[in-house]
Subunit: 551 residues, 2 copies
């Protein structure tokens, strides 16, 4: 903190380190836009006005705004390592990320967390890791790791996590399960996840100190949570898109309690439209005031998470800034972190190095499977999972014909137990082969789905020890995308990963499948036992409402 | 942090520790008022709704609001010790105080700071002490102590001060005086004091990390400071009243950047009208929305100063609350801190004990003075200080007659140097005696004013070694109010102190004096060398604009 340099530059007694000339400055404190230069010294903004700098960048009349905060994301869902993810985020104007690495934690426990932290080392944006609170997600899950309250306390201290990640187990918390209660009993920030929780149950959840929620889907829910002191995140991920349902709850008073997040977002979406910039664009498109959207994207999360002096273009605030041709950050030309240019014209200007991934590779531990392993006798009236377009919710379907169903299996892949749960599924309408993957929230066992058991076996076997995604046809694997890191993330760059992902999607396109669904995406949530109402795990068919397996 | 108790009480599985029944609940997050009960457990609010408690208090339809934050105050100006001051504040709904003990620091240095901290020990409200940054206020002052940057660093560590008190020496800071720059170079909060500073000078001041300002007197000034990232305090003290000049700058966007403070407020005013509650009443009286005023009084300072989860009536927020019959907190019936009732019907429910004051008593070190010491030859055209009603500003008057002037002297009282500055003053119109006191901002030397030198000597000698305020008439002291603590504060309770103060004011009333001024108040600022434009110190007449003594 060099106050001499700051004061001299602010008074124009010496040139600033950096000056952005000819800018429209977004003043989120007074809710105004005014013209001027922005001067930077010692990594912070030192003044707006007329300035000269050692380096000068002409904004050409573009907008200068604070850079964005991604308030809640599972980086693993992008299929990129934190280092590679950082490049995408930086290019789209995000310089602060609150990341919950709970996907990899379910596969690789502490090794996974350590890999994520190491991968983020040295990137020029701030990635703040939350310590996952629900590993595994439920007591019925067979994940690769268990992180109980004792371990949580140990890890919190060892790695100095930023806070505690989303407490999804609100049932356990409200029922006072000691392991759950202890995990949220901390002075650090605890993120929430409590869809539709209301009334006294929400009081109890909030009373335990849980500060945020990103599961709101309607205005009333958002306003109740805000009234109860929580910050509400408007999530716009790949699958869950909530801004449209929530933006009308924003008024000049509630404004300060909203944040944006993406939660789970595929790299393709991030590459094409960004993460938080996409939230801003979406909200403004729906009619939200542009500066309101920027307040939500920049200032509010800095306050919610105590990120220090950031979120305003004002003296002493960190020079974490965007120059954009438009107010909705669709055409970002420059991104600065601590006054340093880190991305230009949609491209990160920094290189990253791969962290040691030896402990989180080869995470698939199963014996080769055979076609016969998938044999399942069909009976009329047996419980079958039915899936639907644009939803992660399923229901139990008891009226069905064999020919409209696919076979689905979940195979435990962490400890080599050979445990496999099987069921029939309606709604995929997949014909001519099978798809398989090691992404399966949150335990990330292998999920495979198909219409012939030989292809199912081939698809599973194609995943090898690395894991990833595969497509098989006529009993032979025809495409495989490795996800070397824990079977969740690629160790390649974003462009190569996207290219590989495109290939797997193309291969799947050669099968017949319900065109209204995203098969891999839907498959990845079939084993998430906390979403209603019927799910499949390696232990069999699960009734979410009754909170037990089917007989 | 007992989350079991919180969750059980929130869910009504057991009675809450405390329930306020039949309340109108002020929801400052959603900007609404709704009816219900407020339940408290483990010191925090656990829910609003319908609740039963071990203790139940009927609000009788009154408003429940978060308790107030006094964002900037010199407790010494109340003439009460921190312990006694806490009782007054508590009775008026203030449970957090940001105090800058720079008056006593100028008299007694570290001993003074330690006394303040000790006096505040054990009171049930939070008094957060800032480390005074300007001791002495200027390089021309003869204060009782000097706290340079080295000492500041040492004290910060030793006493874990909350932050750095108002940096009044903006001239020194902008001119890069190392001692000044070093004092504000800290990660802790630094309060500001920069009347009318603007443009690049304000950029520089803010760039140095100074976070607040309480010297704004007009809307434009406030908005510029907010635009530059500062929090602006609307001050309503005894002498300086700024809400009227500022409240129109509050709009739904700038709202979140305003705070209230009193800075310097006499105990009589606090007793009659409170401190922050008076700000709320004043602002609402001028037309501000009541809930906006409460947001400024409760929520904003909690955010500005990172006071933790307080400022909302919501689960997990500290149960720091007021019940008031009206929205402007004029009729407060109950005040709670951490869920405990600490004041009722305008009276604090706690007792305090006196801290050891032995090191800060007997702070007056002068030899007895004689009438002859005040001899000063009058010359036509000599520079004379002219004072005015309702203002602390003075000017240099060169056209005067001897009979319209009073004699004034400032006597160094800390080191016994015998140094005395003398001058003539126009505007007091005091006849028939003299007044003297050991309150004289910020060095707190003795200031005496009168129309006969014998009374002046008597008034000064009456101050003894304790210091305080005195009135003399016909060469004899007729009233003396001791201020035992550093010559600034009484060691008695508020009621007795007020009674003694009333007596001294009555005694002064037996002299003839300009009825439009408050003589003791005006006298106490005559030696503050940073207020334009002519001042008197123990070294003589000072030209504030030229920043030097008169020849």
């Amino acid at each position: 903190m060099d106050n001499y340099a700051r004061i001299k530059a602010a008074k124009s007694e010496k040139k600033a380190d950096l000056v952005i000339k000819n800018a429209k400055i977004c003043d989120l404190a007074c809710h105004e836009i005014y013209e001027g230069d922005v001067a930077v010294a010692d990594g912070v903004i030192v003044g707006c006005g007329s300035y000269e700098g050692e380096v000068e960048i002409d904004a050409e009349g573009g907008y200068v705004m604070p850079s964005f905060v991604e308030s809640h994301v599972h980086i693993e869902s992008s299929m990129l390592t934190p280092a590679e993810f950082a490049k995408l985020e930086a290019a789209w104007g995000v310089t602060e990320v609150i990341a919950d690495p709970h996907e990899i934690a379910n596969v690789a426990g502490e090794d996974g967390l350590e890999f994520m932290i190491n991968s983020a080392q040295g990137v020029p944006i701030d990635i703040h890791f939350m310590l996952p609170s629900c590993v595994p997600a439920t007591e019925f899950d067979d994940a690769g790791a268990v992180i109980g309250a004792g371990k949580t306390a140990e890890l919190m201290k060892k790695y100095d996590f930023f806070g505690v990640g989303e407490m999804m187990n609100y049932v356990g918390l409200l029922n006072l399960v000691p392991d759950v209660v202890e995990k949220v009993t901390t002075e650090r920030c605890v993120d929430g996840h409590a869809p539709l929780l209301s009334g006294k149950e929400l009081n109890a959840y909030a009373a335990a100190g849980i500060r945020t929620d990103h599961e709101c889907t309607n205005e009333k829910e958002a306003l109740e949570k805000i009234s109860k002191g929580m910050y509400v995140m408007m999530r716009e991920g790949t699958q869950s898109k909530n801004i449209e349902g929530l933006y009308k709850a924003v008024n000049p008073y509630t404004l300060r309690r909203f944040l944006f997040c993406t939660d789970d977002r595929y790299l393709g979406d991030v590459m094409r439209e960004g993460s938080i910039s996409n939230c801003v664009k979406k909200a403004v498109g729906l009619g939200m005031d542009s500066l309101d959207a920027l307040i939500i994207a920049c200032l509010n999360p800095s306050e919610c998470y105590n990120l220090g002096r950031r979120g305003l273009i004002a003296p002493s605030y960190k020079a974490d800034m965007i120059i954009s041709r438009d107010l909705t950050a669709e055409h970002i030309t420059h991104v600065f972190k601590d006054g340093k240019l880190i991305a230009k014209d949609g491209k990160a200007l920094f290189e990253t190095k791969n962290a040691d991934a030896s402990k989180v590779k080869n995470s698939v531990h199963i014996a080769p499977v055979a076609s016969s392993d998938f044999a399942l006798e069909y009976k009329k009236g047996m419980p079958v999972i039915e899936v639907f377009p644009k939803s992660l919710w399923t229901k139990c379907c008891e009226t069905h014909e064999r020919e409209e169903l696919n076979l689905c299996a979940v195979i435990e892949r962490h400890k080599g137990t050979g445990r496999m749960g099987k069921c029939f599924i309606k709604g995929f309408d997949l014909k001519g082969g099978a798809i398989a993957q090691t992404i399966g929230h949150d335990s990330h066992n292998i999920t495979v789905l198909g219409d012939d058991t030989a292809s199912m076996a081939a698809a599973v076997n194609a995943l090898g020890t690395m894991g990833g995604m595969s497509v098989a046809k006529g009993g032979r694997a025809i495409a495989y995308m490795p996800l070397e890191i824990a079977g969740l993330m690629s160790d390649k760059c974003a462009e190569e990963t996207l290219c590989e992902h495109d290939k797997i999607i193309s291969a799947m396109g050669t099968l017949e499948v319900n065109s209204e669904i995203d098969p891999f995406m839907l498959l990845s949530f079939l084993s998430l036992l906390v979403i209603p109402s019927v799910k499949i795990s390696d232990r069999g068919l699960f009734d979410v409402e009754k909170w037990r397996f089917f007989d």
